[in-house]
């Protein structure tokens, strides 16, 4: 953080204080939101004042996206109120939020690349007369609009010809344009610097600084340095609750991290004493030899022993999810091999990996893990079906039902019966069905990507216990995760990924030598 930026902030603050606004530009009071069994936000309150840049930080799953979605009317809160300039408002959709001047700049660039700049700017609010678009007028107005903002882009160019930076600028212009009817718009920036080069970042920060007087910004980012540089105040979300609020001049990276992480690592929660000791682990069952996928991943080498949990962490875009997909055969490896139980394979398709004994539990169980509108039985037997009766085409329905009954019993899957649709189960039980599929197929190595994503605390504990049981039975787990405490608590060793490869050797995480979250975060960024 440079001295210069602190100074500008101070002057800005004083200038704003002199304005007799009295009321916060946007005030959120006691907002709560839960999805099925999971509380995403609990009693969250915050205030955004005129001319402020406010940071919002928190770990993955802390509730940042849910909060942004509620502020922009995409989601409706279960409880709580939102006040705009002192008046209670309700946002029933993005359009309505925009009419009050609240708009979001998406993390993924949300522009239509085959449209021109001005067409994107006016998207959904086109100027027309008797059904014919007034292209000339729109183009002229759009250029004037971006010029006013101090954004230097040519709105007549096709967006596909824009640079990445220019697109981001267009995104911001769009957000301003959407909320331009309201005085003092509120612009929510969701990870706006992700993917931006250094000069783009600078451009963005200058823009935000220049526009301070005309708008209130909310800056959501994982990059704590940036948050410290650009914001006036910082809110910290953790597990759906607003745990801390800092004036930026008082905050440091360390302080923020401690607030974000907060909780003590509970050894009981993750059943650390049950973790298999290094000396009791079996032979190496999975060896990864210089695996590579295109330019983005690798080369990566590591080995996993029988009964071991091998954790992999990293920030978003570090390639950990991709590594999981390569191990599953879902993303073909371009170079390198895997040795599974002594068999050498080059992962090209899931079929090969399943055959050699690697089962994948994807991050998004609804779109990749489950046949939602089919029965627990059909989901459980999906992998074992393939090898029934050898090469004969027939199903062994007796085996299917007995194995499914067994799994429901063993994994304690709460379902009305084996023929109930998976759709109706809770998230935790759905996830157990995905795990059951691989156990039914007697798969020795499981690759789990965020295995407890979106399931409630009770179900998480059950999954943790299950992981311990599995490793006791000689199953090895590659645990890819965003929740650091979880990965630390469960794993025997942890590898940190950065820019597609491992940052150093895997870290020892045996019960008496668990690394701290701070240490991992340090390696991640």
């Amino acid at each position: 953080m440079s001295e210069y930026s602190v100074d500008t902030k101070k002057t800005d603050l004083t200038r704003n204080d002199s304005k007799p606004t009295g009321e916060a530009s946007l005030r959120v009071e006691g907002v709560s939101k839960s999805f099925r069994h999971v509380d995403a936000l609990t009693d969250v309150s915050l205030e955004l004042n005129r001319g402020e840049v406010v940071g919002l930080v928190g770990e993955n799953g802390a509730g940042k996206s849910t909060l942004l979605n509620i502020l922009t009317g995409v989601l409706q809160s279960d409880a709580g109120k939102i006040y705009r300039d002192g008046t209670a408002v309700e946002f029933n959709g993005p359009q309505e939020a925009a009419s009050y001047g609240v708009s979001l700049v998406h993390q993924e660039q949300d522009v239509i690349t085959y449209f021109r700049g001005y067409e994107n700017l006016f998207l959904g609010r086109e100027r027309e007369s008797i059904g014919i678009l007034k292209k000339g007028e729109m183009s002229k107005r759009a250029q004037a609009f971006v010029d006013d903002l101090g954004i230097h882009i040519d709105v007549d160019k096709f967006v596909k010809n824009y640079s990445f930076n220019e697109r981001q600028m267009l995104e911001i212009a769009k957000a301003f344009h959407v909320s331009s009817k309201a005085e003092n718009p509120i612009i929510l920036l969701d990870e706006p610097t992700a993917g931006l080069e250094e000069d783009g970042r600078e451009l963005l920060f200058n823009l935000v600084n220049d526009l301070r007087e005309e708008a209130t910004f909310v800056f959501v980012s994982h990059e704590l340095d940036e948050v410290l540089e650009i914001t006036d105040r910082i809110y910290v979300l953790k597990d759906g609750e607003m745990v801390d609020e800092y004036v930026t001049t008082d905050a440091t990276t360390d302080k923020l991290q401690r607030s974000m992480v907060g909780r003590e690592t509970s050894t009981e929660y993750y059943r650390v004493p049950e973790q298999r000791h290094e000396s009791t682990l079996g032979d190496s069952v999975l060896e990864v030899n210089d695996i590579q996928a295109e330019e983005e991943l690798g080369p990566i080498s590591f080995s996993v022993q029988r009964g071991e949990i091998f954790g992999i962490v990293g920030v978003e875009g570090s390639g950990k999810e991709r590594l999981g997909r390569v191990l599953a055969g879902a993303t073909p490896a371009t170079d390198g091999t895997l040795t599974v139980n002594g068999t050498n394979v080059k992962p090209k398709s899931p079929t090969e990996m399943v055959d050699t004994g690697v089962g994948y539990i994807p991050k998004d169980r609804k779109s990749e893990g489950l046949l939602l509108y089919q029965s627990v039985l059909k989901n459980t037997s999906l992998a074992m079906v393939r090898t029934m009766h050898g090469r004969l085409p027939f199903l062994d329905t007796d085996a299917e039902s007995s194995v499914t009954e067994e799994m429901i019993e063993d994994l304690n899957i709460k379902t009305p019966g084996p023929n109930a649709l998976v759709h109706g189960l809770s998230g935790g039980n759905q996830q157990k069905v995905v795990i059951a599929r691989w156990l039914a197929h007697e798969t020795p190595i499981l690759v789990m990507d965020n295995v407890t994503r979106g399931i409630d605390v009770g179900a998480k504990e059950e999954v943790y216990r299950l992981c311990r049981e599995l490793t006791d039975n000689g199953i090895s787990i590659v645990l890819i995760g965003d929740e650091l405490p979880e990965v630390i608590g469960l794993s025997n060793r942890i590898a940190v990924m950065e820019d597609g490869s491992f940052a150093g050797e895997p870290i020892d995480a045996s019960p008496d030598a668990k690394p701290t979250e701070e240490k991992l975060i340090e390696l991640m960024v």
């Binding site: 509108y373 089919q374 059909k378 999906l382 992998a383 085409p393 199903l395 599929r437 197929h441």
Partner: protein, 333 residues
Amino acid sequence: MSTNSTTENVQNWWQEQREQRTRQDWIIDLGPFVMLFGLVALFTALSENFLTYGNLINNVAVNSSLLLLVALAGTFPILQQSIDLSVAALVNLMGVLTVILVAQFGFLAIPLVLAGGMLAGFANGYVFAKFKVPSFLVTLGTMSVMTGIALIMTGGSSINFRNDAIRSIATGELIPGLPNLVFWSVVIYLGTVFIAFRTKFGRYCYALGENERVVELSGAKVDRYKIYPFVLSGLLCAIGGFLLAARLSSASPDAGTDLLLPSIAAIVMGGTALTGGVGGPHRTILGVLVIAVLQNGMNLTAVDPFVQEIILGVVVVVAVALSIDRRKIDVVK
């Protein structure tokens, strides 16, 4: 004691069903039955000839057996969320092929025709699965190709053969009182139901219709199982084409063309959603019977043939609108 627990079991089952199922589920499951019995009751009241063995077997069953074969053929691709539009054209082509081959090879024509149908189906499936062309477009194209080939082979007119043994396969009565055409279609119906429920292929059809990604990650060879439904479809169409030609002792390049739309209507009315994953061949027969009874009943009650077309169309749209499974549909195009 035992009666008590049985009643309890039934009560529990009923309770469970009421809790788990939506009104949509009930309409999908029971709709075709209600419709079929409604039509039967209606036409029984309107015409004394309707509910007679002669009419039901010799008219309703015989006339619908070919539709049943084609609808069963179309069911499997739809189950896996693709579609085979070439079924009717393939029936025509295989009919023409039957006439030509029977004249030359006699009984040996049968395996040749069946192989030909499977080959054509394989071609559809291969282009669809390997080159990732939407099945809708692939089969629209092959429909045209097959029609063209049939036209070239016949010169555009109808051709015929004389072979009483072959003819009797379709027109004879292996079981006295039951026309062979009906017998074969029932046998094939039972076969397809077995395939749907007791084979890996059947299981994967349902799974692919629900979510291809999940099936792929489970280790199944997805491409292969995306081709099989089309091969089966080709086989069933070949059987249909053969029986059609054998029954008439002749074939023309457009004999079965009118089957395409009723067959898709029957599949969907039966409960197999175009979005895949639900329904199955066991239900397709319901849709076929609804259409067959409706047509037969309208004939008996002397409804103007032109008006019949309109009524049939309206019934199909209404039935599909009621039964379509909207849970999985976000945008309809």
